[in-house]
């Protein structure tokens, strides 16, 4: 069997959803750092978002399962912590999908620039921590809906 190209593998990985935020892929999230063949073994380097994020092991399993389904059986998953993951690595496609899903994408200013539901700029922080380690809890003062904000790190 011929080896799949690295580009092809990236495409497959882009179809693996994040287990906590299934509208974006693990590639959108920026946690897949490298894909490379060494002989007939495929190495995929993955970086954790937050060091204690419980989704990390599920993500590793999902990546392995997806690649096996595409016929790759020798897979080495490498955890790479340096350089540390940053929300700058979120793809533009991922940012747009987050907002569509109701999660405000990260902003360098440290808070959401608008409510992902109604677009109002009148928003306030409820808590620095939200439903997952990567999110904070905010509220819109116009439509009064609570929403998650993807923290900038």
């Amino acid at each position: 069997m011929t080896r799949a190209s690295v580009e092809q593998v990236w495409e497959w990985l882009d179809a693996v959803p994040d287990p906590e935020i299934p509208v974006i892929s693990v590639v959108d999230l920026g946690i897949v750092r490298d894909v490379a063949w060494t002989g007939d073994t495929l190495t995929v380097a993955v970086t954790p978002t937050y060091s204690g994020c419980p989704a990390t092991s599920v993500i590793a399993m999902d990546i392995e399962t997806a690649l096996r389904e595409h016929g790759i059986d020798k897979i080495r998953l490498e955890t790479r912590i340096s350089p540390a993951w940053t929300t700058d690595w979120l793809s533009d496609k991922g940012r747009a999908k987050l907002e569509e899903y109701g999660i405000a994408p990260p902003q360098p200013a440290g808070g959401p620039d608008r409510c992902p539901h109604c677009g109002s700029k009148a928003v306030e922080k409820v808590s620095q921590f939200g439903s997952t380690p990567c999110k904070a809890h905010w509220r819109c003062k116009d439509c009064l809906e609570p929403f998650d904000y993807f923290k900038c790190i």
Binding site: P48, Y50, S51, I81, A84, S131, P133, I153
Partner: protein, 253 residues
């Protein structure tokens, strides 16, 4: 003491601090005064446990006996732990828990900042990762200490009591010994005493804003980070934390 022996002690100190504090904070899960605080405490605990995996994972590697982070966390007894006493004291009320968190976060953020330029790449990488998380911990614990200290009469009183109770545990974070001297000589970690000035400035600024008074005494309870004498509370904590691995050795998910 060889360099590797000192390095192992240093890594156990870092990992045991985050492990024991992470466990303490997780005791709040399902008990915090409001849902948002419950979630924030659980998230903080989760970050600390994640950091523990990195520190103790590296400790196992340096030790070279084939031990994993889990082995070190769950199969050592009280006298082998190297955390400072501050992190093992019981939670007390919500105010004391947040005061302890703030006193630790302030030290932790300064320490990690220095470790980012460690001569050991692995230490620098863990510090870079952890410091991003700890910046959020410090922002939150600092804000909460100000909110409660400069709050109602009761919240102010409780925060002052928490500070009076916890302050004698602060000094141990800056006590240097031969392990620290060896780490500083190797450029792996700073001499803890050198962090004190920055710490006092940061903590002083926040506590002033919180209208709280730092006790005059510099008396410090010690014995945790060198394992000479832990408080009676650590053993009780371990009976909870290590119960499953002790009762069912080798159990996995």
């Amino acid at each position: 003491m060889t360099r590797d022996e000192a390095f192992l002690q240093f890594l156990l100190r870092m990992g045991d601090n985050t492990l024991i504090l992470g466990h303490r904070v997780s005791e709040w899960c399902g008990h915090a005064p409001v849902l948002e605080e419950d979630i924030a405490l659980a998230n903080t605990a989760l970050d600390l446990i994640g950091q523990t995996q990195m520190w103790l994972g590296l400790a196992g590697e340096v030790q070279g006996e084939g031990k994993s982070a889990d082995d070190l966390a769950f199969l050592r007894d009280v006298w082998d732990f190297r955390n400072v006493l501050l992190v093992e004291v019981p939670n007390g009320d919500f105010g004391r828990t947040l005061m302890r968190q703030f006193l630790f976060d302030a030290w932790h953020s300064i320490m990690l900042g220095r470790l980012m330029t460690s001569s050991d790449d692995r230490v620098a990488a863990i510090a870079a990762k952890a410091s991003k998380e700890v910046a959020y911990h410090l922002e939150r614990s600092g804000d909460t200490v100000v909110g409660l200290g400069d709050g109602t009469e009761e919240s102010h009183r409780r925060m002052q009591e928490a500070l009076d109770y916890l302050w004698p545990y602060v000094g141990e974070m800056f006590a240097s010994d031969e392990v620290d001297a060896e780490m500083a000589a190797a450029g792996i970690a700073p001499d803890p005493a050198s962090l004190r000035e920055e710490y006092d400035a940061l903590v002083g600024r926040v506590l002033r804003k919180a209208t709280l008074t730092i006790p005059d005494s510099r008396f410090a309870h010690k014995g945790g980070r060198n394992g000479r004498m832990h408080t009676e509370h650590l053993g009780h904590l371990l009976t909870q934390m290590q119960w499953l691995q002790r009762a069912y050795p080798g159990a996995t998910w």
